[in-house]
Symmetry: C2
Subunit: 584 residues, 2 copies
């Protein structure tokens, strides 16, 4: 037996017991006549002691040869420590080693296996298996597991069935971001890896499996933004014989149970906000409502005072930053520079200070009297000591810019606390988006999303105004899940395809397969999917999803640890009837 206990469990309760432990050498302190070794495993650290008086000379010699990350097994007696370490559960005891068995030596690791390591990200990714030994990485993987278990048990208890849908599916003509997989048995033919199990889950609904879920890998071959992965994990769900309300209730319950597990708090009913309200109040369809700074629109108030920038703007809108009136000119300029960066793209920003002494001043004193400014400040519900920022321009653009500033200030002011949670449903999304470039409508969610019943007539008159039975679950400023009530009526579905500019043939080629299934008694159904990597990160008070993936890929889609992707042998290509033609 390699161990009687783990390195996280021995306490004074075990005094005088003879135990066997195994693990990695974390640190060695060699005082010559005494040697202390910290032994580490997944569960914790236990201090080992070897000493001249109580240990054999051979044992001491053996211990002196140990190095960092050596794998050892020791047997010895649990004794009380003279200098205790209250920071760890095993801090009151140590093991007086009687037998030491070197299981495996280790070369010096390329970075220190400590909570704070000296290894840079690239190096740690290359040696990910060593990085996983560190608590901050290991704990994230354990946390992910616990969340997955919790989700599975919650949904199973509610009668959901986890069904595995296929990974080798069909590539569709518009599946431009599909990974494809050549088939040896079917020369010249390809499978595709699923971007989501959307079609299959809808087929399961047609099949009567009325509560489906799956924690499932999905794939997208696209240029990767910093925090995207070519393979990612979804909690994918679908229900039949339900309305939007039923879906929200189930998944609100699921999310609340996760939040309760983490925070101990009951979250009650989650607030809801329409898409329009979210855009108006926060300039964003996934607002972080852990803090205020709601948008205040000022068109009626500030126009007509000869300040041309405001007069010409479609929208003048601002936020009140509480308690920041004492920001220096330098601090304010830094923020103005921040919004002028190309990523944000604002041309500038007006500020108003409501000073502690009651004076209201601004960067546009030339155009506005103190009385004008005071009225504006009142509109913001500002108090003495507050600082207001106002931006102007094209409504959509300025909202996006001000939203970015709001989030930046939230970060700077520490208002976005990792251990605080503010879930929010955003509902009533537009059904369609007009794409200037292609000159046609796109489905905001996907082509199977149902319009709100009361908006169906708008499809004939003003389709752009129709709202969808679509919903997003937002947590701390991140979309963690989204879904919709689906169309299950063939005629309405045909109309949708028409609106989206598909010819009958195109619709048939891309979706005929699902449409065919709809002929045989499709039930009303609705669903949603959570981005599991992101959900886990946010629940753990973090936003970097890569940290929560055991073996992530880098921004070029490469696994630098195993060096994938890589060229394959010509023999293998021949078997697949393929030829690589890279142009130099």
């Amino acid at each position: 037996m390699f161990r009687t206990h783990t390195n996280g469990e021995l306490t004074l309760q075990n005094l005088d017991e003879t135990v066997t432990l195994s693990g990695w050498v974390q640190t060695i302190r060699d005082k010559g006549f005494m040697i202390w070794v910290d032994l580490r495993d997944r569960y914790g650290i236990t201090q080992l002691v070897f000493d001249e008086d109580r240990s054999s000379k051979e044992l001491l010699e053996q211990a002196k040869k140990l190095g960092r990350e050596f794998v050892i097994q020791v047997t010895g007696k649990v004794i009380e420590r003279t200098s205790k370490n209250p920071k760890i559960p095993t801090g009151e005891i140590e093991i007086l080693v009687e037998r030491l068995n070197l299981l495996n030596a280790s070369e010096l690791p390329p970075f220190t296996i400590e909570d704070e390591t000296d290894g840079g990200e690239e190096l740690r990714m290359k040696y990910r298996y060593l990085d996983i030994r560190r608590n901050p990485v290991k704990d994230k993987l354990v946390f992910r597991h616990k969340m997955a278990q919790k989700v599975r048990n919650y949904l199973s208890d509610k009668g959901f069935i986890e069904v595995e849908t296929p990974v080798l599916i069909k590539s569709t003509p518009e599946g431009a971001r599909d990974f494809v997989v050549p088939s040896r048995m079917n020369p010249g033919q390809f499978y595709a890896l699923p971007q989501s199990p959307q079609t299959f889950k809808q087929l399961l609904m047609v099949g009567g499996m009325d509560r489906y879920f799956q924690i499932v890998k999905c794939f997208r071959d696209e240029d990767l933004r910093a925090d995207r992965q070519p393979e990612f994990t979804q909690i994918d769900c679908e229900m039949a014989f339900v309305e939007q309300e039923d879906v929200l209730e189930i998944f609100e319950g699921m999310t609340a149970s996760l939040l309760k597990e983490i925070s101990g708090k009951d979250f009650g009913k989650f607030p809801r906000m329409t898409f329009n309200e979210a855009m108006k109040k926060y300039g964003n369809d996934k607002p972080d409502i852990r803090f205020g700074m709601e948008f205040v629109e000022l068109n009626g108030l500030v126009k007509g005072k000869d300040f041309k920038i405001f007069d010409d703007a479609e929208l003048v809108v601002g936020i009140n930053v509480e308690g920041c009136a004492e920001y220096t000119r330098k601090q304010i300029d830094a923020l103005i520079d921040w919004v002028k960066r190309p990523q944000i793209g604002a041309s500038g920003m007006v500020w108003i200070k409501y000073q502690h002494d009651g004076v209201v001043t601004s960067s546009v004193n030339k155009f506005y009297s103190e009385e004008d400014l005071r009225i504006v400040a009142e509109t913001f519900s500002a108090k003495p000591g507050d600082l207001m920022f106002i931006m102007s321009g094209d409504a959509n653009k300025v909202r996006t810019q001000l939203s970015a500033l709001r989030m930046e200030l939230g970060n700077q002011l520490g208002l976005r606390k990792g251990d605080e949670f503010a879930p929010l449903w955003v509902v009533d999304f537009p059904l369609l988006e007009w794409d200037e470039e292609t000159g046609r409508y796109h489905a905001m969610h996907h082509p199977f999303t149902s319009p709100k019943p009361e908006d169906i007539t708008l499809l004939d008159t003003e389709p752009g105004k129709a709202r969808a039975n679509a919903y997003d679950l937002v947590l701390n400023g991140n979309e963690i899940g989204g879904g919709s009530v689906r169309i299950f009526n063939k005629d309405l579905q045909s109309k949708m395809f028409g609106l989206l500019g598909f010819t009958k043939e195109e619709a048939e080629a891309q979706f005929g397969f699902l449409m065919n299934a709809f002929k045989y008694g499709a039930p009303p159904h609705a669903g949603l999917a959570f981005g599991f990597d992101r959900l886990v990160a946010i629940l753990d008070g973090n936003e970097v999803i890569r940290d929560y993936i055991a073996f992530p890929k880098n921004n070029s889609g490469r696994d630098v640890m195993i060096d994938a992707p890589s060229p394959i042998a010509n023999a293998q290509l021949d078997e697949l009837y393929l030829k690589v033609e890279t142009k130099e």
Copy 2:
């Protein structure tokens, strides 16, 4: 709200309640003045009634227009049935419908949605979403879900962490059966889909994650036998700081908990058998021990009686088939023909009957006296009424042939009962297999499998005799899981690669990556993997794994429902720098 109850839950307890139900029309019986409709959903069937006296004329008209598989919603009152159906939970009540809402019509389905359907397999696969509506299919998917949940909870409770390993990995030079995936971002380069997460789980052990599991899709692009799938699911497990005994204990416990769930029985300690014993007693390394018919070797007894076939044979071995002495000549000939089929390849078979009247007779009376035969019968422990079959020839071949006969007789005699379970560990597998064709050793399990410590010296002298620390879990004649203690010592691993005929360079190219990880303190570790599709099928008393996969592929690796794989657009190939070159 689409329903207040499901179609499986209403009983006399709900009498007089007004309820709303939704589902599919299973059957319609139209008596003119009265119409009964069976309404079906995932949970059961509820009878609806419309009648001239109690329903409006419009409602009756509406009901008359319904067809099979129409999706409807009804509201009505729970009333007591006059003729009850004790076979279903809702059989004592029916719903007197007050309101009928047609949710979706259905074309006539291509086969009947009944437990016994008129649809052939191909048709049902094409319309799999309709097949899933049938109880026998649906129940299997629900059963699979329950088993997965049980496994996950069992292992989580034991401290195992489910870690998702990547699906896009590296193709290895010998990965001849790898599916490969071209990368758009890395022109001319390919990922491979994992045949198993073997490397990653060993890296997780190096990473200190000492109890790992994953229910995970794996992929193999190979010619498909009847019951193989290009994508299949494993319960993949690995543990560190353990010996073989620890692994067997955990997974015996897991399997016993599944068996208990299904059968209500406690299975205690699973029996164990060495590979050699299994081969000797059953001619098979995965014996079905639900029934006896153990092999009896007869070399010492039957040779030297001038029966040349036995005299020339390396092995003469037989089985005793209890209570079959009254088999007719025709029945016996049919079995002899069966073993002579090319798939089995025996040249013939000797039989001995121990008649009820005490006489012992045989097909080789010319060579053996009744006294000779009686001694043979005694060696078989045969009783009056038993029938013995004896085969002879090359030891390995004859064991395989006799094993096939034993299984066939087990099936014919109803000894292989689906609801009886006989788990068995087979241990002490040979480490290496000699491959006549390539003239070198192959790893019987895989190259990372550890020899038994006491057999390590054999590697230098008689490697073929070395036994491995490898083990299979067998259930009802099927290997449901297998694994091994891994080598974690670099030098021993190098020696293994040498024995397997790898040059240093080849070993480096294929396994260098894991070997590199082994430099940094690899702990002792061991693991195993269950074939989840097969496990579920066998636990459900079935052996056809395809039935337990929601959307399976056929023997050509095709999904006939979605018609995948299929050709892809040239534009897509161009983006991947690929050209298809199929020779006509």
